[in-house]
Each structure stands twice: as C-alpha cells, then as structure tokens.
Amino acid sequence: MIEILSNAALATVQDLGRLGSLRFGVGTAGAMDDLALAAGNLLLGNEAGAAGIEIPVFPFKVRFAEDCVFALTGADCGAKLDAEPLLPWWSHRARAGQVLTLGLPQGAQRASRAVLCLPGGIDVPEVLGSRSTQMRGAFGGHEGRALRKGDVLRAADPKRACRTGFGLVPPALALPLQLDGLVALRVLPGAEYLGFEAASREAFWAGEWRITAQSDRYGYRLSGAALRPVAPMELRSHGIVPGVIQVPHSGQPIIQMRDAQPSGGYPKFGTVIEADLWRLGQAPIGSRIRFIETNWDEAVAALEQKEAWLAKVARMVALQRSGPMGVAA
C-alpha cells in the first residue's frame, strides 16, 4: 500500500491500453512509454501489461505503508528512498514508512516520464479490459482521474517474495535511434501525404521539430516549417490511432498520443510507427526531434526488434530471479 504525498499533478495509473473499445468511442489510453512500463513489471515478475504509475511531473513523493518491493523505470529522476539514492531502471525494496522521492529528470538521455511498478501491478479494477485511466469520461485507473495528494494505492500482490537489487540497460541506450544528435522517429506516410506540397514534404523530413508546451498525453503539438496542402482537404470523420500525425489549418502538425480520441478528421501526413512511440512519449517539452521515412517492412521489423528486446528482458530477469547466478538482495 502506498500513499501519494505530493500534489501529483497528472500522474496516472496506466497499463498497455484499452485496445478493444474503439467502436464505442473509447480511445486506448495506456503508458506513454510502454517499454518502461513493461520492463518495470518484468523486473518484479509481473505480467508485462500490469498497471503501473506514470509520473510526468516532479517532485513526486510516496510513502510505503508496508514493506514492499518496487521497480523504477523511465526517466532517471535521481530517486531517493528516504535519503538513500536509488538506481534507475532497477528493482528495489522499501520498508514500511519509507518515503520514495523522484526529482527532476537528469542525465544525458533526459527523459520526461518515470514509471513506478509494484508487485502484481497497481490494484485498480479492470474496466473494458484495461486498468488505464480514461480521462474523458472519467473511468479506469484510480477513480477515473489523475492521482492526488492523499490517494492510497494497493499492490495486487504486496507480500510477494521477490529478488530485487538488479536492473536493466535502459532501452534508450539498448535501442537508440538518433539523427544529427536528436531523438529520431520513424514515420509511415499517411493517406493524405501526397496532398501536401513537395516542398513541405521535403521540409518535414529534413527539418527539426520542436515539441511545444501545448503537448500532453492527448497529443504533441510541434513547431517547425508549416506543412502546406496543395489544396484544402476536408475529410469525413474516421478512426485514428496514437502516432497519427494530423495537420490542422495552421500547418503545424499534431501527433496523436495515448489519450487521443479514437477518431478525427484532419489530414493525416503520416504515422509515427508504434515501435517508436515510446521514444516520443519520453521526449521532453521544448526538445527537438527529427523524422525518418520508413516503409511497412521496416516498421514491422522495428516492432519485432522492440518485442525481441522485451522477450530478452523477460528471459534474463526470470533467470536472475531464479538462476544460480542470482544475487540475493
């Protein structure tokens, strides 16, 4: 059991998303950095898709009401358990009464969201097949809302005996993708791609894009050279998914993120491939990013590479938790 001690603005309970209710108007929600959530869960022996807490605003403080193991992944926030510094991407053990504090993200690979996992996952009810917080409509997660000071959350399996004290090489280092020193994202051109001027298309791939302050779990609004359509495009409302790059009349693109609504009508320049969406989920506001054009085969291969990394994590962690090489905590 943990109690939130800080005004945890925008921290939410998330799993890997609510994937099967789009036809009722329900978007997927889910962790912005699905790799961090899955890896944190695997470190504790949870299902990769168990619910964790996604923390985008710091400092963040929680008190452990009982002895409990936990894992920290995602942004390296100079975490401390009471006064003791904790390693990022690592499994830890807290005693009853100890306070976990996450500070501002730090390091050369500065990310923007930390993930806290507990044994068995965060114990909130499953709604429409998921424990993710659905903000619009206010259901799922913890009471259908962001966490607040004083909230008490339970681990589904709080007493689990669990080897801790080991970690993972963060995927930003294990699966890097950069272009000219900036985080790069692979994009599959979308239905209206050719409806934009050739110069705009070139500029999209060649230019740097800044993530503006109007960016959140719903969408990332980018700033850069405006994308101009050859002629205005009016579309019928249609299904969309996280990663879709919409271009409203301003010409400044918006990338749909995990809380995006499941339908839209703006022209679609392309889609950031699912395999790279975690990188964008960790890109801080104000940072600059680049885009790389990709194709179906490469995009599927990238997804397989990401899954292979997770499979390796699952295998190695299982061995560490049970094998002869295991280091007892």
């Binding site: 659905q134 239905a191 990663g243 339908s263 889609t271």
Partner: protein, 223 residues
C-alpha cells in the same frame, strides 16, 4: 466531415502498423454506411483483425498484430466490399428533450449570424429530422449523426472551447451531435440535454449503436 466525395474506387491507407483505413467511394450516403456496417460485421471475424471500427463511410481495422504483408488483407477487403449486402439495422428511436439557447447553448448567436436564420427557424430545422447514428467515435459514447439540414451548417469555431459539458448539443460544419461527457470542442453549442450516453460497466457500454436514430424534442427555447 464534409459532403465532398471520395474517388471512384475504395481506398486503403495505413495508420502506422496499428491499423488500416478503408474508405468507401462516392458521396457520403446512408446506403454506403449500411455497406460499411456489413463490412465491419464481416471483418470483425478475420483472424488478423482486433477490432472493426466504422467511421463516416469508412472503416478502420485495428490489427491483433501487423500482418507480414498487407496484400491478402486488402484484397479480401476489396472483395468483401463488392460482395456485402447493405446491413439494414432497425435500431431504436431515441427522443432527446433539448433546451435550446440560453446558458446551455452559448453559441446559438454564432449560428444565427452565420446562417441568417432566426433562433426559432434554427430550432425547427434542427429538431425536424430523425437522425441516424452512423458510427461512434471522438469520445466514449459519442455518436456521429447523419441527416442534418444543410441550411443550418456552421463552420467549426476558430478557437476550440476548452470544455463543453456532457449533453451539449452542437453543430460543426454539416454535422450535429451531442457530447457524451465534458471535454474540449471546436463545435458551436446550441442547446443541452440530460441523456446519459455511456456507462463503462454496462454491456455494451454505449447507450446508442450504429443504426439507432435520434429525434431532438424541443423542451424549451431560452433567450
């Protein structure tokens, strides 16, 4: 949505590796939507499809996992589109009492200004049709409706409103709809209703389904 037509043949486009979008050819039409429903019903049973999600004369198929190649799936979609019989859904008729104008309809004046009609004329035109639910989308329980009188079409607002309440009845371009929960909107809100459109613990969670029809009843007009 606009009433613009698409090309002469269906198109298929990719939404990354997560889904594909099938768009019906021709002008936006109810008959075409009935074929989309039929196509959705069939495609929902295909092994690579996680969910078949109708839009306005289009259909999104999300993948269980992305197929190695897309040729077989797109060929199957094209063949199924040619073969389907339009799905006639004898849905329910749901009557929604609406209070038009006043505090619950803050943008009525903008619709008056754009259309040149009086409030009474707008209310009469808006409450006359039996609107078919084409599809659900946008947010939990929200219905895309067909059949609004083009005379009251009003462009979306240049600056979206940060939050409109659940039950807000609004016009965006040639479409009308009722928000199912509080949230941002670029549409012009002309009235309000108290209907509950979504309950996540119900099965199905949405009150209305494609094929149901909505009639707006004039409960009152406020200045």
């Amino acid at each position: 949505m606009s009433l613009s037509t698409t090309g002469p043949t269906p198109t298929v486009s990719l939404l990354g590796t997560t889904a594909l979008l099938f768009e019906a050819p021709g002008a936006l039409a109810f008959a075409s939507q009935q074929r989309i429903w039929a196509l959705a019903q069939e495609a929902a049973g295909w092994p690579e499809v996680r969910e078949a999600v109708p839009g306005m004369n289009n259909l999104m198929l999300s993948f269980v996992r992305p197929p190695r190649t897309l040729d077989a799936l797109t060929a199957r979609l094209a063949a199924a589109w040619e073969a389907v019989t339009p799905l006639t859904r004898e849905g329910r008729v749901v009557e929604l009492p609406v209070r038009y104008g006043g505090a619950g309809g803050p943008h009525m004046a903008d619709v008056v200004a754009h259309t040149g009609l009086s409030v009474e004329q707008i209310v009469e035109l808006h409450s006359a049709p039996l609107y078919p639910v084409y599809a659900l989308g946008s947010h939990p329980g929200y219905c895309y409706l067909g059949g609004m009188d083009p005379r009251i079409a009003t462009p979306r607002r240049p600056v979206p409103v940060l939050s409109i309440p659940g039950g807000a009845v609004s016009i965006g371009g040639a479409q009308t709809g009722v928000s199912a929960s509080a949230g941002p909107s670029g549409w012009n809100t002309i009235g309000s209703t108290t209907m509950t459109f979504f309950d996540p613990v119900r099965d199905p969670p949405a009150t209305l389904q494609p094929g149901d029809r909505i009639r707006f009843l004039v409960e009152g007009i406020e200045p």
